[in-house]
């Protein structure tokens, strides 16, 4: 893995590109799709993209995980940035909580209207 970084530009494109692509795909789903579950799927894909970006900015070429396990006590200078990882941890759990609430709302909307498509739920304007 030492020569991983020779191809930095390709990998940059890979990581950033796929993260941004995930955000855009999710955004597309949220804006265009009519089914509530699809919209929630879109939201979770956006979240996934943001989390990937977040971890990517903390990565340092040739680094290793910020864990001082036996054999790695002296690797301070090679460690990747731990802060984004800690933040992403929080963000993932929060994203899951929001997804759970969203899905419960979907279930209730379905019970109420017997449909989960927003073009058929018209009590309030969308």
């Amino acid at each position: 893995m030492q020569n991983f970084e020779q191809y930095n530009s390709i990998i940059t494109t890979g990581v950033y590109g796929s993260a941004i692509a995930l955000i855009l795909i999710g955004l597309y789903a949220v804006l265009i799709k009519k089914h509530l579950i699809k919209i929630v799927i879109g939201l979770s894909i956006i979240d996934a993209g943001v989390h990937l970006l977040f971890v990517a900015i903390g990565y340092i070429k040739g680094g290793t995980a910020p864990i001082f396990s036996p054999g790695n006590e002296d690797a301070v200078n090679k460690m990747v940035d731990p802060v984004p990882q800690a933040l992403v941890l929080t963000a993932i759990v929060i994203g899951f909580a929001v997804t759970a609430v969203a899905l419960s709302l979907v279930i209730r909307l379905y019970k109420h209207h017997n449909t989960a498509r927003i073009d058929q739920i018209k009590s309030l304007k969308w």
Binding site: I20, L27, I67, D81, L89, I94, I107
Partner: protein
């Protein structure tokens, strides 16, 4: 028409994001040389071992340096469970017969889940007890235990998640977390301060209150997620 507008919007957003992240090179060392303690991350990397004796810096940040975030995070999960309960609440009068699953799974699966359930629970407990030494911690361990419960819930019709016990575990774990925080305050320090001795690096008993907090978080998350799954599974009316 709407599609065209959205595609234009997507192109704009994509261009905007690409442009922004072009300015942020990938894989570059932004924390500087940790020895200089230039940035927050450098400080963490350089001081965690010395000050808290926690091998996993991420855990140290999550539980100690930014422990307040974790408290908030646990609260978010707690509120999500409460909110889920209120959103999917069924009244007594229109209470239908509900059933979680139509039929029990095959006898093979039943045996399998019986065997795997303690192992999965053990794995979860291992993950959160060792949160300060290895990757993982309270959230991951709790999630794993909750999936173990789910395995039982979807395999057996007559397996009950034990709401009394879940309530107790959840409340006690939450109270433990906040009490540890208040303990620091009462002993003259600050909220969530690490009041116990740090111990020796890479020992199981090290890091002061950090493993205790993570264990409490683990139990709490496990109880909460099991509660969420149980609520979600228990809303199907009997045909």
């Amino acid at each position: 028409m709407k599609k065209v507008l959205v595609l234009v919007l997507l192109v704009i957003v994509g261009y905007f994001l690409t442009d922004t992240f072009n300015l942020i090179p990938f894989g570059e060392n932004r924390i500087g040389n940790p020895q200089d303690e230039q940035t927050v991350a450098g400080y963490y990397l350089n001081n965690t071992v010395e000050k808290t004796s926690v091998a996993n810096t991420v855990t140290a940040i999550v539980v100690n340096y930014r422990g307040f975030d974790t408290l908030g995070e646990v609260t978010v999960l707690f509120l999500a469970t409460t909110g889920l309960g209120s959103i999917l609440f069924r009244r007594k009068e229109d209470e239908e017969e509900i059933e979680r699953i139509n039929k029990p799974s095959s006898s093979l699966m039943q045996t399998g889940s019986r065997v795997l359930f303690p192992l999965i629970a053990l794995l979860g407990i291992y993950v959160f007890i060792h949160g300060h030494l290895t990757p993982g911690g309270g959230f991951q361990g709790g999630a794993i235990i909750a999936t173990g419960f789910l395995l039982m819930l979807i395999s057996y019709k007559n397996f009950k998640a034990g709401h009394t016990m879940l309530n107790w575990v959840e409340s006690l774990a939450g109270i433990t977390f906040v009490s540890i925080g208040l303990w620091g305050l009462l002993t003259g320090g600050t909220f969530l301060e690490n009041v116990l001795p740090a111990g020796e690096l890479n020992n199981l008993i090290s890091g002061g209150v950090i493993p205790i907090i993570y264990i409490a978080v683990g139990f709490k998350v496990a109880a909460e997620l099991t509660g969420v799954l149980d609520i979600l599974l228990n809303i199907k009316p009997k045909k």
